[in-house]
């Protein structure tokens, strides 16, 4: 059988075909780098010329390229604040993952648990969590804790919901098969539900990771003496729009960094995702 599969390789026309196919694929890859770069450069250009053309004062909109010198002038300050925000975000996210995964297991393990917990989880989602940020300051002070809690409250929902979906994703035939082998509930979780939930968990994590960052920044808006959210508020109070934009840029980089970490982990840990799409033929 393996000879059959290899035989097209020895065929000249097939090899030619494969080569041109590879060339097209390489072209597609090039495009996927070039085109986004073009649109990004275009965006910067439009921004720049808009500022020049309308002669906008710097406190309304700084020139895009003036943002980088602003950061380069005192990188250690940005780094210090970014570090605080990163810490709050990761702590909030860690709490979301732990709570989210445990809740998801409880919900899928027992129907009664699901009935008891689901209403709370859905309510927690409709509840405007950013609106209680000021309360958090009253309860927990100006330290890291209120930011971590807000970050957690915002980020945990997509993680629970996606993990629940994933743990429930095996079709009934799959569960019947496991039960017909006299598998215990724990074995059904270990052999089927958990592996199948991994890609779902990661899509939840990718949403949660950016939300956790939003939560930390909102917490800092309300009351803080460090962090990128604090820096934006301080810049605003001084009408230092360039500083605000520089901070936003750092925030963007931080968000992208976190997202790519999640994506990297997903690729490493969840090769199932690709596979599952291919088996659903």
């Amino acid at each position: 059988m393996s000879r059959l599969i290899n035989s097209p390789e020895s065929d000249d026309t097939t090899r030619e075909l494969l080569r041109s196919q590879r060339a097209t694929e390489a072209g597609d890859r090039m495009k996927s780098i070039v085109l986004p770069t073009l649109s990004f450069v275009g965006f910067i250009l439009i921004w720049h010329f808009a500022v020049v053309y309308f002669d906008l004062p710097v406190y309304i909109l700084p020139r895009p390229l003036s943002i980088f010198p602003e950061i380069a002038r005192r990188p250690e300050m940005f780094l210090r604040h970014a570090w605080v925000t990163l810490f709050e975000t990761l702590a909030g996210l860690g709490l979301s993952i732990a709570t989210g995964v445990i809740l998801a297991f409880m919900i899928v393990w027992s129907d009664n648990m699901e009935k008891m917990l689901m209403p709370f989880i859905v309510l927690s989602q409709t509840f405007p969590k950013t609106a209680i940020a000021p309360l958090m300051i009253i309860w927990f002070g100006y330290g890291y804790l209120p930011k971590i809690i807000i970050s957690f409250l915002i980020a945990f929902f997509p993680i629970v919901i996606n993990t629940v979906l994933g743990l429930k994703s095996p079709k009934s035939d799959m569960i019947d098969l496991m039960r017909s082998m006299s598998a215990t509930k724990a074995q059904v979780f270990a052999k089927v539900r958990i592996p199948m939930a991994v890609p779902y968990f990661f899509s939840g994590l990718k949403i949660g990771i950016t939300l956790a960052l939003v939560g930390a920044v909102v917490g800092e808006f309300v009351g803080a003496d460090s962090g990128l959210g604090f820096l934006i508020m301080a810049a605003n109070n001084q009408f230092n729009t360039r500083l605000a934009f520089a901070t936003l840029f750092v925030l963007m980089i931080l968000g992208a960094f976190l997202y790519f970490i999640a994506e990297f982990l997903e690729r490493r840990v969840a090769p199932w995702f690709e596979a599952s799409r291919r088996t659903d033929k």
Binding site: D173, D176, S180, M181, S182, Q187, K191, P271, R278
Partner: protein, 263 residues
């Protein structure tokens, strides 16, 4: 000969969403002898899967008695292997790891079963694919893997629920021939073990398929369903597809068809 499966006055009522109960099965009676190949034939929705799931111990009956190997069915039985319409393979495991799954579930030493797994791989024509991922295999080959998985534990009873229903007609014919070969091969190929030919309950809505495969065909009526008639299939084994062209085969198919009612 000992009785492998005995179903007596089996009833099953489902509670449906709108409140009206669904009488899926009504006084089903069925007996399968040890080593017999019995097909259960009926239109879609008549309760074939329900019957099989009750025999497998996956869902409770609403009434009646079910015995497998003279033991009353109270829940899933490790001596029973199941194959469904879809192969339901774990796509992150190799073919070999999928075949060995039941051994892991039993918490037995997987290594002791590798040889038997390889025997089954050879028997089902999967040689060379044992380390592939399931999604690299065609539908027919995936179903072979699920048959190997059902056989790895040497079950005395094999329950197949429209196993080839999702395959194209050509693959289906081929799989039918293969299934007979695998089933018969089971007794001779690895005779070192205590295994003998498993009893098979095979569910289908294809009359030809059921006649080609079986020792006996049980025809189910539409809901509330029971088994209205069973037919002995006289063709000698080993059978190949040429049986289908015999006039007796056609007559039997016609005779069975006349007993099938659709909603």
């Amino acid at each position: 000969m000992a009785v492998a499966v005995r179903v007596q006055d089996l009833k099953k009522v489902y509670a449906s969403r709108n409140g009206d109960p669904v009488h899926a099965l009504d006084r089903v009676n069925l007996i399968a002898q040890d080593g017999e190949f019995v097909s259960i034939l009926g239109p879609s929705g008549c309760g074939k899967s329900t019957l099989l799931r009750i025999v497998a111990g996956l869902i409770p009956a609403s009434g009646g008695d079910i015995f497998v190997q003279e033991h009353r069915v109270k829940g899933p039985n490790p001596n029973v292997g199941m194959v469904f319409q879809s192969a339901v393979l774990l796509h992150w495991r190799t073919v070999m790891e999928n075949i060995l799954l039941p051994i892991e579930i039993r918490r037995e030493k997987v290594d002791q079963y590798r040889e038997r797994a390889m025997d089954l791989v050879r028997l089902t024509g999967l040689e060379g694919f044992e380390n592939r991922a399931p999604y690299e295999l065609s539908g027919g080959m995936q179903q072979r893997v699920s048959i190997c998985r059902a056989l790895i534990t040497n079950p005395s009873l094999l329950l197949l629920d429209e196993p080839f229903g999702a395959l194209d007609a050509f693959t289906r014919d081929q799989m039918n021939v293969e299934l007979l070969r695998i089933w018969r091969g089971e007794s001779s190929a690895s005779s070192a073990r205590e295994n003998k030919r498993p009893t098979i309950l095979f569910i289908t809505h294809s009359i030809t398929e059921s006649v080609f495969l079986s020792d006996r065909v049980a025809v189910m009526s539409f809901r509330p369903s029971s088994i209205i008639k069973t037919f002995d299939i006289p063709f000698a084994r080993p059978r190949d597809l040429s049986v289908i062209t015999k006039p007796e085969f056609g007559e039997l198919v016609l005779e069975i068809r006349s007993h099938i009612t659709v909603e």
